[in-house]
Symmetry: C2
Subunit: 281 residues, 2 copies
C-alpha cells in the first residue's frame, strides 16, 4: 500500500518522495550512525500545529550532541517543515526529522531531511487499545550508568532491535512489545514510553541508567494539571498486571491504552484515558 | 580526504559514487533495519581475489534470514561485484555489500548495493599493532540466549554503538575498543573478533548466547593447520593481559596484534603473528 508522503532535504527543499536522497557511503545508512525525532502535525482550523515541535527539536539536538554531529539550527528546521507542509494535502500527519553523520569517505558532511507521512488507519485504531507482550531488552536496569558510548536515551537510527521486537510481537499475535530489563523491570516500548495508574499514583520508569528515551509525551503529562501523584521508579511487570490502567504514550500514535499484557486482560480506566489525552494536548 | 570509491546498485549497476541511492523512507536508513557484510579484495597477479566471498555471502544471507528480508542470489552478487571491479583502478580494496528492508510506505522492496573503497593508510598501519581499551557492551554474556529479537550474531546496519565505542577509544588515545560483558568477560571489538594465545592454546569467545558475530577470519584460523590447541570459552580480561599474544581479526583490516590494553603493554609473538597471517590467507 502506498501512503501519501512528502520528502524535503535541508538545503534542497521538497523532492519527489521516490527520489533517492542518501548516498551509499553515508554513515547514517551503513552504520545507523545518526539520529531522528518525530511528532504529529494536525490542522487546527486555522493552520498546521506541530505538537511540541520545540521539544522535539531540542531532543534531536541533544541526540546529535551525544553523537558529535553538527545539527542544523531550529530556524532551518522550521523553514523546511513549512516548505514541506505547503505540499501537504492530507489530514493528520507524522513528521520525522532525520540527521546522519554524512559520507564516511567524503568529508562527513551531515545530511538532514524530513518526511511527512499520512498516519495510517492501523495506527489510528491502536489509540482505542493495544495488546502487548513483554520481551527482554537484554540489558540490566543500570547498564547505561557511566557508559555514554552505549547511547542510552539517544534516539539513534540504529533501531533494528526495536523493529525486530515489534515483528516478534506481531508473530505472537500482539500489537506491540514492552521491553523488560534482564533484572525484571519494566522499561519502554520500541517507540513508546509506558505509564500506569494504581490507587491515584501515576508511575513511569526513570530515564538515565535504564537507557530509555526521555519521552516528550510523558513529560507533557507530568507538566499538566493531572489529578494524580506522579512517580518515577523501577517496577516489576506484576505492577502493570495489578494496575488500574496502563498506557503507551508517544508523539505520533499518541495515547494507546493497553488492554492485554502477555495474554492477561488489563483493567482499563476510561476516565483516566480521557484525562491523559487532554494532558498530552 | 576523499578516497577512491565505486558504488554499484543491484538492478542498476555501477553509478557515480556521489549519486544518492537510498530514499528517505527506506527502513535501512530510518531504522538501521538491514544487514551488510564486508571483505577485502586483492589483485593476485592474474585477477581479483575476494577473500572468502562465499562465506561472506552465506553470512549475509543468514543475517537477511534472521531479519526476514529477501536476499539477492549469490550469482547476482557475483555479477555486481564483477561489474564494480571493472571500474576499479586502485589496489587492495574493501568490499561492502548492503541489504535494506526497503521503503516503509512503498512496498518494502529490498535494496541491495555495494561499495568498493580503497583501504586507507591508517587501516594498513594498524596491521602493525594497535592499542585497545575495554568498554562495557552493557549485556551479560548470556543475554542473547532465547531472545532472537535482540539480533545477536546478526550483522545489522544498526552499528551506532559500535561507532560510538570506537570514538570513545579514540578519545582515550587508543586505536580501537574491546567490548566486555557486564559480567566481566571478553566479547569482541566493534568490527573484529579477538583471539589470544597462552601456553600453546589459542582461545576465542564463543558465539551464541554472547551475541557476538561469527567471525569468518576467526573460522579461517580454526580451519587452518595451526600448531596450537583451539578453544572457545568465556574469559576475563586478565587472561588477555597474561597472554603470550592477543590479536584482533577481521576481513578488511586483517590481523592486528594488540600491543597495549587499557594502558598496559601486551606481550607480542612475532612467529605466531606470521602463522596467523598465513592461516587467514
Amino acid at each position: 500500500m502506498t501512503q501519501q508522503q512528502v520528502v524535503a532535504v535541508m538545503g534542497r527543499g521538497a523532492l519527489d518522495p521516490a527520489e533517492p536522497v542518501v548516498g551509499a557511503d553515508d554513515l547514517g545508512l551503513t552504520r545507523g550512525d545518526g539520529c531522528f525525532d518525530a511528532t504529529r502535525i494536525e490542522w487546527d482550523g486555522e493552520g498546521w500545529l506541530a505538537h511540541d515541535l520545540d521539544e522535539h527539536l531540542e531532543r534531536l539536538r541533544a541526540s546529535a550532541t551525544a553523537l558529535g554531529i553538527d545539527a542544523p539550527s531550529d530556524d532551518d528546521w522550521f523553514e523546511l517543515v513549512g516548505d514541506a507542509l505547503e505540499r501537504w494535502t492530507g489530514g493528520e500527519v507524522g513528521l520525522k526529522m532525520v540527521l546522519t553523520r554524512g559520507e564516511e569517505h567524503r568529508g562527513h558532511r551531515p545530511l538532514a531531511f524530513l518526511t511527512l507521512t499520512e498516519i495510517d488507519e492501523h495506527t489510528l485504531r491502536q489509540r482505542e487499545g493495544i495488546s502487548v507482550v513483554t520481551l527482554s531488552r537484554g540489558y540490566a536496569s543500570d547498564a547505561f550508568d557511566g557508559a555514554p558510548w552505549l547511547l542510552g536515551g539517544v534516539k539513534t537510527l540504529s533501531y533494528a532491535v526495536n523493529a525486530a521486537a515489534r515483528r516478534e510481537a506481531t508473530r505472537r499475535g500482539a500489537d506491540d512489545a514492552l521491553f523488560v530489563s534482564s533484572d525484571g523491570y519494566v522499561l519502554e516500548g520500541p517507540t513508546s514510553a509506558v505509564v500506569w495508574l494504581k490507587d491515584g499514583t501515576l508511575t513511569t520508569t526513570p530515564v538515565g541508567a535504564t537507557g530509555i528515551l526521555d519521552s516528550i509525551s510523558r513529560r507533557a503529562i507530568w507538566a499538566a494539571d493531572v489529578p494524580w501523584t506522579l512517580e518515577e521508579r523501577l517496577a516489576p511487570v506484576s505492577d502493570l498486571l495489578a494496575a488500574d490502567g496502563v498506557w503507551f504514550v508517544s508523539s505520533v500514535r499518541g495515547l494507546a491504552p493497553l488492554v492485554e499484557l502477555d495474554g492477561q486482560a488489563l483493567t482499563s480506566d476510561v476516565e483516566a484515558t480521557s484525562a491523559l489525552r487532554v494532558a498530552m494536548g
